[in-house]
């Protein structure tokens, strides 16, 4: 698992990417920074709360990152809808036939 600083920066980057320029005023930013500061210092050698918080922060980073990537992949591959007849034909290198006099039933 990545060190805590990298996870923290990762979460902030994801928040900035998903919310926008106002991310450092958002609720999540304040809560995350608060939690990281609270769990930084511990007197124990093996602090379970710190380990749990570290795992949770990794999980949250994974959640933010993978939803964003999944959405981007969806938009890229699965969100175009149907293409027009011209582009469908162009996909295999063909063009639709032209009939200068019209097809006969058009007004």
């Amino acid at each position: 698992m990545a060190p805590a600083l990298r996870v923290c920066r990762g979460i902030l980057k994801e928040l900035r990417a998903s919310i926008g320029p106002t991310y450092n005023k958002s609720l999540a930013y304040n809560y995350v920074m608060d939690q990281f500061r609270k769990n930084k210092i511990t007197g124990e050698r093996y602090c379970r709360a710190q380990q749990e918080a570290h795992h949770d922060s990794n999980t949250y980073l994974c959640l933010l990152g993978s939803t964003r990537t999944h959405l981007a992949l969806h938009k890229l591959y699965h969100a175009k809808g149907e293409c027009s007849q011209e582009s469908a034909a162009a996909m295999v290198g063909l063009r639709l036939p032209e009939q200068p006099g019209g097809k006969g039933w058009e007004k």
């Binding site: 958002s26 609720l27 749990e52 959640l63």
Partner: protein, 285 residues
């Protein structure tokens, strides 16, 4: 003089064809807004905030309106962290609302509404039944490199859970799967009873996503990270991808979706079952 673009909206029966409405506008096409017909809602709020209500529950507010579940109930989160995470999901929506990216919201709605009226006992029984067809216990006979890979990757997790809970699970390569002894099931039943209803909802979700009880418990007990668990769950697929190649619009798409859902489920369980207190230690001079 500005020519107003007519935006047509509403049920399909009322929509006039653009040609009839703006006949002289050949180049400028009217923007016909079909979004309500296609089921896509626009983002209708500007700010997302949370507020505390009685009983220590937290609500999410979209502008001035309180968020409600699909069942009509008021949306309440058990603690501040969950409410903030849900609020962030709503805040991350851009022009349209994409409900399939709001995993924590969906899980909270399921726990609040309980549309299929499931009890905790039913969920525990379903989880234990799943143990008989657990991914980690189902091994192949060939090709030998896959057998080796399964042994190297899945055996450590099995050993860990067998030691942690003092049970025997075992793996098998025949079609019937492993024989789970009754004591194992009883031990797990006792353990699962300690989770509350919300946590159990999340745990069942993680089990269904990872197709494995062992891996789900591994994530919840913080023995595995989400990425590791997803990798172990998709071990054979990753093996085939390394051999035959990766198809981004299928393999990566599913992988990231699985990661998102599993991470949401794990976070949901942890946020539902945590309680934090601050105990100040006296400074010793």
């Amino acid at each position: 003089m500005f020519r107003r673009l007519v935006r047509l909206q509403g049920p399909l029966g009322n929509i006039l064809s653009p040609d009839k409405v703006c006949p002289r506008n050949q180049q400028l096409r009217c923007a016909v807004n079909y979004s309500s017909a296609l089921g896509e809602k626009r983002r209708f709020y500007k700010d997302v905030s949370i507020s505390q209500s009685e009983g220590g529950l937290y609500e999410v507010n979209l502008d001035r309106r309180k968020l409600k579940t699909p069942g009509g109930k008021l949306f309440t989160a058990p603690n501040e962290a969950m409410a903030i995470a849900v609020a962030t999901e709503w805040d991350a929506q851009k022009d349209t609302l994409k409900y399939y990216t709001m995993h924590l919201t969906t899980l909270c709605n399921t726990a609040l509404d309980n549309p299929t009226h499931r009890t905790k006992e039913q969920m525990i029984s379903a989880a234990l039944k799943f143990l008989e067809t657990d991914t980690v216990c189902y091994r192949v006979d060939e090709p030998p490199s896959l057998v080796e890979l399964q042994k190297n990757e899945w055996d450590p997790v099995l050993h860990w859970i067998e030691n942690r809970y003092n049970v025997t699970i075992g793996s098998s390569s025949n079609i019937l799967g492993p024989e789970i002894p009754k004591e194992t099931k009883d031990t797990f039943r006792q353990h699962l009873k300690s989770y509350n209803f919300w946590s159990m909802t999340g745990l069942e979700f993680v089990i269904t996503q990872l197709k494995s009880v062992v891996l789900a418990i591994g994530v919840i007990d913080r023995h595995l990270s989400v990425e590791q668990a997803v990798l172990l769950s998709r071990l054979e697929e990753e093996y085939q991808i390394k051999y035959w190649g990766n198809v981004e619009w299928a393999h990566d798409y599913e992988s990231y979706e699985l990661r998102a859902r599993t991470a949401a489920g794990a976070l949901f369980v942890h946020l539902s079952s945590e309680s934090s207190t601050i105990k100040r230690k006296l400074m010793q001079n």
